[in-house]
């Protein structure tokens, strides 16, 4: 026998926090080996991917821009995942949010009043929330598995968006390009730092982190959500309404993903285009787990994920690597995280450590 996994008497809290770090280190090592096999100096390649993109002010500003949608989606997912409702549809909810925001924005291009931007944001929230509520309705009324419905809704959302930019929302003066008209200035998110693209969306995201944190840690609704996720029959016994909680969590997560979409079209992009997200909604799933469903953890994980997106682009430019490298790193990170999470419930028993280690551990209890 080689290594053996032995169940721990109790889940290790230390390992729960160490596991994401360990996964990060293993991803770096594997990535380095991978670069080496491709004929690059692994240290230079990793530096190009993970340091060069943020080595100047512009890079740091871009990191904020990329972090914003990922963080908004992931913080929303934290709350549904806590309830063990598996919303895999943040991507679709983001797209519909962007679509709804654009539908309003192109109709108020002339408006210069201050309400324009908040109205566009609200339209995005409403769009994303509605899209999530469809899945919530299917789950609570027909017991349809939300993993399947939300994934399928992602494709419907993408095609709705493509249809809209080719059809009803296409700019009449746009030489038939599949793009909407540029939004009016009043509809756009204000720039926070001059000469960069950092926009007010990051403030919404940080505000969402604080609100969700308070909700989960201090509010009774948050407590009910946690109980539902950990032990549904205890929630029923206590009289918590599970259907209501499914609706609430889906509403929050869909709304935040929709806000992320609105922030993209009314932020760095400024119009509706077919490509408003390079898979932010999917990356947010990895981020939510990497951050242990904790708001602070998710904040850091979002920054890392944004960096991987930028690093992928940098690797494309500097090292002539394909853009798929972003997906590769995301995949490795998730893979290693899931593998390392096994160590929360199990410990490795080495062939040279016999019975005595097990016994001594038992005596501590």
């Amino acid at each position: 026998m080689f290594l053996k996994l032995v169940p721990r008497a109790e889940h290790s809290r230390k390992m729960a926090y160490l596991s994401p770090l360990l996964a990060g280190v293993l991803t770096l090592i594997t990535g380095g080996v991978f670069f080496y096999l491709q004929g690059h100096d692994p240290f230079f390649a990793l530096k190009t991917m993970l340091y060069t993109p943020i080595s100047d002010t512009y890079g740091l500003a871009e990191l904020c821009v990329k972090t914003t949608p990922i963080l908004l989606c992931a913080i929303g997912l934290a709350i549904v995942f806590k309830a063990q409702v598996w919303n895999i549809g943040a991507e679709g909810q983001l797209l519909i949010g962007g679509l709804a925001a654009s539908a309003l924005a192109v109709n108020i291009i002339e408006v210069e009043a201050a309400w324009a931007m908040p109205a566009v944001m609200l339209a995005g929230i409403a769009g994303g929330a509605l899209w999530a509520l469809l899945a919530a309705w299917l789950k609570t009324h027909f017991n349809a598995n939300e993993i399947l419905t939300t994934i399928m809704f992602n494709y419907i959302a993408l095609n709705l968006l493509i249809f809209s930019v080719h059809g009803p929302l296409k700019d009449p003066d746009g030489y038939n390009f599949p793009e909407s008209a540029m939004f009016g200035d009043a509809s756009l998110l204000p720039i926070l730092v001059e000469d960069t693209r950092v926009h007010a969306g990051i403030l919404f995201a940080l505000l969402a982190v604080v609100i969700i944190w308070v909700l989960l840690a201090r509010s009774f609704i948050g407590f009910q959500i946690k109980v539902l996720g950990l032990d549904a029959s205890a929630a029923r016994l206590a009289g918590f309404k599970d259907k209501k909680l499914v609706w609430i969590t889906m509403l929050i997560s869909g709304g935040l993903a929709g806000l992320a979409g609105a922030g993209e079209v009314a932020g760095p992009i400024g119009q509706l285009v077919p490509q408003i997200s390079p898979g932010y909604g999917y990356a947010a799933i990895i981020v939510a787990f990497l951050g242990r469903l904790h708001p602070v953890g998710i904040l850091f994980a979002s920054l890392l994920m944004a960096l991987i997106y930028m690093g992928g682009e940098m690797a494309q430019i500097e090292l002539n690597m394909p853009l798929a490298i972003t997906g590769l790193f995301q995949g490795m990170l998730l893979f290693y995280l899931l593998a390392c999470d096994v160590l929360i419930g199990y410990k490795i028993k080495f062939p040279w450590s016999g019975m005595d280690t097990v016994t001594s551990r038992a005596e501590q209890h």
């Binding site: 009774f220 109980v227 950990l230 029959s233 205890a234 029923r236 016994l237 206590a238 009289g239 918590f240």
Partner: protein, 537 residues
């Protein structure tokens, strides 16, 4: 119950000898150099509380678990039992506490599955089942589907499944916990006949009177170690109990029986169809629980207890709102939270994973049902208030735990149950409904829980206890009844009922007492169950 006819004979040849058996689980030493020997034709009791290591030991004999140290000597030869198939080949049969039968198959098909290739001719097998079951006084029709059998009959299938092979050692894990007292007597007759023919029997139990009535010798386990061995007929129940629990734990006491005051819970004509295809429909349940009394409901598991409890707790909503009344009015349509607001507290059967969230701290688990006691302010949790509520429960009910931050799952069953009962009682309920309050709990904790229930009763609360443990119900109930196939027997003051009468109620023989109150449908049902019960005896 009869006393055993065969006296113990220390010189009879040994069938199985276990020496120094040790088994380590993570965080728990389940067996610590256990010695045990069983003679040919001997009925040997393995006594101990839940968690004493009985189950691990018999799984080692049956090849399910491998010991870390120690040896097994089977009929004079040292062996290693590889797996249950190997054990069966040696002639070891086992009847688990939870049956492993396919409900949609017949008795013969179920037994054929266990036999594998040996059971090629189904007709011959059916004939064999018939003859074996007749020989040992266990009526069983090989053609019946398992889902149509009573729990007692299912146990017979499990036993017959062992008997159709060449059986030399039969292991029974708490076989009487699912039987009525009359069924227990029938089982004992079978076991005695088997032993007379030379089969060895390992009888695992924590019911001392049964061990006294049946077994030739007993080995007592406590915390994984052998804490004593004795000849049960020469001991009394309390001396064996001492071996089981040690010297420091107080063992049972007697409580006064009282009469209740005004009616608090009133159930009238409660009919509820079960959504579960294998569930039990409730049939015209009528029940009053008065303030200041304890009403006990006996019954074999799976006779409608779960359905009745769900109807009372509010987890199931009742179509006829009037069927369940509190003094404030009908409550059948109210959700659990609203019923709690009107004075209900509830202790469910499963303590981990319903009564308490395993992965939450005791503090959070105190909030789980305690949130109505002013711990929520403007939708926000009063963390300090919750903390002190949890600490009060821990202190008052002597819950053994490092602190209120400990996860519920790391508490022992008895401690967690004390915490859950404490949590409900501390909310000053006017009605407490408790399911199996001391199931799987050590004797010390059980005594503490009984005392807490009696104290709550004396403060004027109405209490309803559903339990499979008849001794417990006789001990603490002021009035008693039984449930069978979704119908409730008459309720009588405890001093006026005998064990035999409760046994008859548990078998469904009570329809003649309430002829005018029953619907025609209910009459048919109870006639059927009476017929079934009569047939089986």
């Amino acid at each position: 119950m009869n006393t055993p006819t065969v006296s113990s004979n220390p010189d009879r040849p040994k069938r199985l000898v276990m020496q120094g058996i040790t088994k380590q689980y993570p965080g728990c030493l389940a067996n610590d150099s256990v010695d045990l020997d069983i003679g040919v034709g001997e009925i040997h009791a393995l006594l101990g509380e839940n968690g004493a290591g009985k189950s691990t030991l018999m799984k080692i004999i049956y090849g399910v678990v491998k010991p870390d140290a120690g040896q097994l000597i089977w009929e004079g030869e040292t062996i290693r039992i590889k797996d249950p198939a190997h054990a069966r080949k040696l002639g070891i049969g086992m009847v688990f506490q939870h049956f492993s039968l396919f409900e949609t198959l017949t008795v013969t098909e179920n037994i054929a599955l266990a036999l594998g290739n040996e059971a090629d001719d189904m007709k011959a097998l059916a004939e064999k089942i018939r003859s074996v079951s007749a020989r040992y006084g266990m009526a069983l029709n090989p053609q019946r589907y398992v889902h149509s059998l009573s729990v007692g009959e299912r146990q017979r299938v499990e036993i017959v499944r062992c008997l159709v092979q060449d059986i030399r050692l039969l292991i029974l894990d708490e076989p009487t916990s699912v039987l009525t007292p009359q069924e227990v007597d029938t089982l004992f007759i079978t076991l005695r006949r088997l032993a007379e023919e030379g089969c060895s029997i390992l009888f695992i139990s924590h019911k001392l009177n049964e061990v006294k009535a049946l077994c030739h010798r007993a080995t007592v386990l406590r915390a994984g170690r052998v804490s004593g061995a004795c000849i049960p007929t020469e001991e009394d129940a309390s001396s064996m109990a001492r071996m089981m629990v040690g010297d420091e734990t107080p063992i049972s006491m007697d409580y006064d029986k009282v009469q209740g005051q005004a009616v608090f819970l009133q159930v009238r004509g409660l009919n509820q169809r079960s959504d579960d295809p294998f569930g039990v429909d409730l049939k015209n349940i009528n029940l009053d629980v008065h303030a200041g009394e304890i009403v006990g409901i006996a019954g074999v598991a799976g006779n409608g207890q779960e359905e009745l409890l769900a109807a009372l707790s509010g987890e199931d909503i009742i179509k006829n709102h009037d069927a369940i009344h509190f003094p404030c009015g009908p409550v059948g349509h109210l959700c659990p939270e609203k019923r709690r607001r009107k004075g209900l507290a509830f202790v469910p059967e499963e303590r981990l994973g319903r009564g308490a969230v395993p992965d939450m701290s005791l503090k959070d688990n105190a909030l789980l049902t305690g949130f109505l006691t002013g711990l929520i302010k403007n939708g926000m949790i009063d963390h300090e208030g919750t903390e002190s509520f949890a600490k009060k429960i821990i202190k008052q009910f002597k819950v053994k735990t490092p602190d209120s931050g400990t996860h519920a799952k790391s508490l022992s069953g008895g401690n967690l149950q004390k915490f859950i009962i404490g949590r409900e009682i501390m909310q000053n309920p006017q009605l407490l409904v408790a399911a199996h309050p001391t199931w799987g709990v050590d004797i010390g904790a059980a005594t503490a829980i009984h005392q807490a229930l009696i104290d709550l009763r004396d403060q004027g609360a109405a209490i309803l206890i559903v339990s499979e443990d008849i001794d417990e119900l006789f001990l603490i109930s002021d009035r008693l009844c039984a449930i069978c196939d979704g119908a409730l027997s008459p309720i009588k003051p405890t001093p006026q009922v005998t064990l035999e009468e409760v046994g008859r109620w548990m078998a469904g023989m009570f329809d003649e007492l309430l002829p005018d109150e029953k619907t025609p449908e209910a009459n048919i049902v109870s006639l059927q169950s009476t017929a079934a019960a009569v047939k089986t005896h």
